[in-house]
């Protein structure tokens, strides 16, 4: 066990963990965040995506050793039920999901997309989301929600 620091959604936390533990396990089990999800553990589904500084990482394979000292953004850091991010609001407005399991990772990726490209086209959104799987077939609504959020910002 080693003392490591993370800045999670702009709050600094110090954790006593094994540096080999995955960032996903730490965020879920030590920090108690629910939004980063485990889908595959193999960088194949995108359910676990979080932002480190402004880069997307798969938290399932990213080790704590690599993440230490860095600034991490998860869905919890985008907005709250009372004060949602335009992306979260757009997903609610359009009922853009079925089971919703895929949404956390997708929202993180979409927030990075909108930061870099405030007016993406439909095909920009499709390309940006291509590393994310959705098994319910909610793709079009999710794409529409991201376009709507871009419009409203």
């Amino acid at each position: 066990m080693t003392q490591l620091e993370l800045i999670i959604n702009q709050t600094s936390v110090t954790l006593d963990v094994d540096p080999a533990t995955s960032l996903l396990d730490v965020l879920r089990n030590e920090v108690g965040l629910a939004s980063p999800r485990f889908g595959c553990g193999k960088e194949q589904c995108g359910a676990c995506c979080v932002k480190i500084d402004n880069k997307l990482v798969y938290a399932c394979t990213h080790s704590m050793a690599e993440a230490a000292g860095q600034s991490i953004t998860t869905v919890e850091g985008l907005g709250t039920p009372e004060n949602p991010h335009p992306l979260q609001q757009a997903v609610m407005d359009l009922n853009a999901g079925q089971c919703g399991f895929c949404l956390s990772g997708i929202l993180v990726t979409a927030s990075k997309l909108l930061d870099e490209n405030p007016a993406p086209s439909r095909s920009d959104v499709m390309t940006a989301l291509d590393d994310h799987l959705c098994r319910c077939g909610a793709h079009n609504r999710i794409i529409d929600a991201i376009l709507r959020a871009a419009d409203k910002r």
Binding site: T21, Q44, P81, G100, L129
Partner: protein, 712 residues
Amino acid sequence: MSIPFSLQRNPRLSTWIRFEGDRLIVYTGKVELGQGIKTAVASIAAFELNFPISRIDVVSGNTESGPEEGITAGSMSIETTGAAIRQASAEVRAHLLDRAADRLEADPSALVVKDGLIHNPGTNNSLSFDEILSGGQIDVEATGNPKPRPSDASDTLGTSETPRTARIDLPYKVTGGKAFIQDLQFPHMKHGRVVRGPSINHYPDQTSDLKESLANIVRDGNFIGVIADREDAVRAARQHLNDTISWQLDASHETPNGSDWLRDTDTRLLVVDGTPGDEPIPDVPACNFSATYRKPWHMHGSLSPSAAIAIWQDDHLTVYSHAQGPSLLRDALANALSLNGNQVTVIHTENAGCYGHNGADDAAMDAAKLALHVPGSHILLKWEREDEHRYEPYSPGTLIDVAANIENGRVRYWSADIYSQTHSGRPFGMQGASNLVAAWEQEEAIPRPIPQPGRGNHSGIHRNADPLYQFEDRRIVKHLNRDQRIRTSSTRGLGAFANVFAIESAIDELARLDEIDPVTFRLAHLEDPRAVAVLQRCRALASDYAPRHQDGHHPGRGFAFAQYKNRQTYAALCVFLDVDDETLEVSLEHAIIVADAGRVVDPDGLRNQLEGGFIQSASWSLKESVSFNRYGTTSVDWDSYPILRFSEIPTVNVQLIEDPTSPSLGAGEALHGPTPAAIANAIADATGIRVREVPLNTDSIRRAGLVDHTAR
């Protein structure tokens, strides 16, 4: 007056509707699978009771409270629980009015119900539901007398134009709320994993030495699990065991090759009007059309591996599970663990969409077995990704031989022989057998049941096997292969995917043989006006659509139609795609869905379900096939089992034709059958090549092209 079936089974109104302060709690035995059932039942109660939906909570799938409604499957939830909640709410409303009448000094018929208040417009006095009941409940049985509000009431939920009903689960699912079973936390909860071989047919070498592990190992016969306080420790222990154990497979349990072995069975039944029976099976006369259609094994492929939480305390087992039938699982667990039914509680808790019988029930049993070893501790058991891919029961491979006689543009004779495995491998409280993997492995092993041919109307292999078309003569035979070396069970649509693929491909082929427009040909064989209406509307919308043109690509357009189970939603589909001249790669461009699902409770939810069903089925149709070698599956993750991605998604236009006089019909599986056929028909339109085998991809197009070529 008739009382809906589910309300007859659970007649107490307080089983369905309860009041707590200014909130209303609706109970349903159906469970949330991502289809929006909680939102739908809350909307129904909100409408009947004129109550704000923001003050409604929904409790679903708890074996200790609320109605018992069996399984959530087959697009039936809105028809069963929806009808019961509608009637129960109407009765509750009548009771509230009766009780308020005295105190508000007016006849019940003169009172107005609005926003949880009952109002006397004459005196301007109001009472809240809470004041009327003063903490009590409406604890009486349903009579069937009060009538639900007419669906054309001015503020009806049901026109396609009304704004969408916001999903009540999305706000917390998109903001990091505790939404899924893996998010539940209990004090001192431990983590669990199971260790299994390459397939469920493997067993561990008994001499494997399992002692040197960090974690607490639970071994019971061939069942092996591990428990640890921390998740990283339990993963490491599992890895260690995986590396240590050698797995055995008896030659008789090796996975068979290909799919022709499905024909190797004597279990066959004649299907008449959608129901299998024991009538003698006639021979097939000489026909001028014959073809064989094939569907491979598909995975449910939930985005999240299965999980469960269990605790054994005071001789009682409590299990949190995302299984589709909490009460069936309770009985199956009791049976497999030699407990009484009243010693087991199952509480439904959401996980990612399951799309049928996946690993949920097995994970619940695995968690229970571990929990029995550490009384008083909650165990959070998770399957890993490869567990889900390897051990979940697949949707069975299917072969369908079609033969038909066509004369002067009419189908005179139709025959279909359908060869497949069981679609009903679900666990329930059966005696002397179990459908839970750990029950087969444990020391006190309980055998797997031998699959029996389902005899229900449109129930399994023969779902949608009976074409809705007016053919003069027909012969439909289902053949069940009982072999379970490849484990199979229910997946959305059951046999409808393969059967509608075969029927709607063959209809297209027959029309083209006779050089008749395929939609005109279908219409000539249809009498039901609702079927005719969806097809005509779909054709009209398709002719207004201008497909894009790309150099080096052949555009194609294909139609398909089905009425799910010949009694639920009518759906017509048109798919626009193109096929790359060089690579033969198929890209979907656009789809038009026209559906009639009867009375519409939640139009937006219905559209979401129809489109989601189409996209999921497009993924099955274009990309998916479980691959096997003799040791089991080689599709162990998303790289070895690819599914449709964001960059491959077509635009979709969903149109509803509402029939407010018909009951609400389930629609979640209405598109699974038409989709592969519309795509195959569009590929034929684009390339002239008829592909009769799913997945419809470069390989199968090439194979079919070679055959066509040789035939010419």
